[in-house]
Amino acid sequence: MSGRPLTRWRECRPELYPPRGLALWRRAAAVLLGLGLFLWGLDALEVTPGRLIDGIGQLGHVFMLMMPPAVTEHVWDYVRAIGETLAMAFLGTLVASLLAVPLALMGARNIMPFGPVRLLVRRSSDVVRGIDSLVWAIFFVSVVGLGPFAGILAIAMNDTGVLTKLYAEAIENTDREQVKGVRATGAGRMQTIGFGVLPQVMPVLLGNSLYFLESNLRSATILGVVGAGGIGFFLMDRLMISAWREVSLIVIMVLVTVACIDALSRVLRGRLIGPVGR
């Protein structure tokens, strides 16, 4: 192509080129407006370069203080607290999964013909889900007192909301032909649900429950902040008294636990729903 005079296509094909003149100005104005909005938002969030730089320096300082992690006589307390955390996540997920199945059936359009019930289930699950499990934990601490039991109830509450929604959507997406097939054998309403709908959604249900077990383990680690048991209590306690080297030990213990549970749940998921269920 070198040496050959190029056609100047801009004249005959202006739409293939970036705009010029007024259109260009309009685009520049839009970009500036976006940038202005972005900066205004940053200002509203009290973000300034000075604070950022200071903070990063502080963070580095804290990080240096954290090293190396300190293994103290409290280690067995931490191990027990992690066990408590695991128990909270496990029981919370289990209860939520069991409660969510009937609720989801009541909230699914293809199962529950009665509109108001469906709406009530769906909306109340929205409300329950809209409140973080930490807030539920505060609430349950005031009901059943300090300790992991409040945490279990909080996780179960929040997750029932989330799982009801997810399960209901899964049930609504089931294949109608298969359900029809079961109904054609003369099965009753309950039998149709049991043999036509549930087998189809089982993999989704189990997969979601396992996924939530992992995610609940993460949220269970912080419920101790408000006194609802688990490792979070020690984590906050050590943070408050600036025992940084113990904080790093706890964080590492949590990371290892979560990694183990993730691996276990991956294996279980593979066994229960096959390689495609991920």
Partner: protein, 300 residues
């Protein structure tokens, strides 16, 4: 069923029938054993968890009435005649709460934005088919894992300590966690990217970064946007509690109300929060639909 009563043609030879019956029984036994051991394991797990988790069902049953009275106290006194005044009394601090709520939403938006941009870059480093070098991929995946395993609230406490009380710590904490969570999701999507366009762009002499921008990004963008919007929904919820540790947003007001047993304040704030969450969910759902719907029409 072993004798073929379900209209299945019965097996002809008694010998093979016996063999079938034996195999069937053995399989049934193995199956039953599997189920039984799984059930026992489950029960043991439940028992241990119940013991560790200090489950006291009797206590819950005892305290159940408190449940009702707790909610009862949250209901404000509203009368038709004086509805305006009652509402004003209920939402006595409404404008302040609205400002905090707005801050919560801003925290969620900026955290999602920062997290998503970083996750976008890291997804290409972490995906096994796109990574510039295997060790970079391993390093990127470990970084993402770390960022998503540490709970937001722990990050928030650290950042409040480092950056001071205020929404900045919240943005950074949620942003960092979103970076980890989205980076994982994005990376999984990127691993399924169609290799043909990537080869096509690479063959022109494009550098790695250029290949990612022109070969990978166009095919992945719709999925990335969809996941990003989903994360925004999650982050609004997460941002609502950051105030508990001083990292900005409506959580601060909520925490104060709970601590001081201002029951009507709790319900007022919670209602605002739920409304905001629902609004954002609906907005994100609509946007997601547009992202997917528009996909068939426009060239990037």
């Amino acid at each position: 069923m072993a004798d073929g009563t379900l209209g299945v043609r019965p097996l002809q030879h008694p010998q093979s029938r016996a063999r079938f019956a034996r195999a069937w029984a053995a399989q049934k036994r193995a199956h039953r054993l599997q189920w039984l051991s799984a059930a026992v394991l489950m029960l043991v797990l439940i028992a241990i968890s119940a013991w560790l988790g200090e489950v006291k069902l009797a206590l819950l049953w005892d305290r159940l009435p408190r449940f009702g009275s707790y909610f009862g106290r949250m209901v404000p006194e509203l009368a038709w005649a004086t509805l305006g005044e009652d509402l004003a009394y209920w939402y006595w601090n409404g404008w302040q709460w609205l400002a905090s709520l707005w801050q919560t939403v801003l925290i969620a938006i900026y955290a999602t934005l920062f997290g998503a941009i970083l996750a976008y870059v890291f997804s290409f480093l972490a995906a096994r088919n796109l990574t510039p070098a295997p060790w970079v991929g391993v390093a990127a995946r470990r970084t993402l894992e770390l960022a998503r395993t540490v709970p937001e609230l722990v990050f928030a406490v650290l950042f409040v300590f480092a950056f001071g009380i205020g929404p900045l710590a919240g943005v950074l904490a949620i942003g960092l966690h979103s970076f980890g969570a989205l980076g994982k999701l994005f990376g999984d999507v990127a691993e399924n990217a169609d290799p043909e366009p990537l080869r096509g762009v690479r063959a022109t002499g494009a550098s790695w970064a250029q290949t990612m921008v022109y070969g990978a990004t166009p095919q992945l963008m719709p999925d990335y946007l969809s996941y990003g919007l989903m994360r925004l929904e999650i982050n609004v919820r997460a941002a609502s509690i950051l105030g508990f540790v001083g990292a900005g947003g409506i959580g601060q007001e909520l925490y104060r109300a709970i601590k001081n047993f201002d029951h009507t304040d709790i319900s007022a704030i919670a209602l605002m929060l739920i409304a905001a969450v629902m609004l954002i969910d609906a907005l994100c759902g609509w946007l997601r639909g547009r992202v997917i719907g528009r996909d068939g029409l426009r060239a990037l």
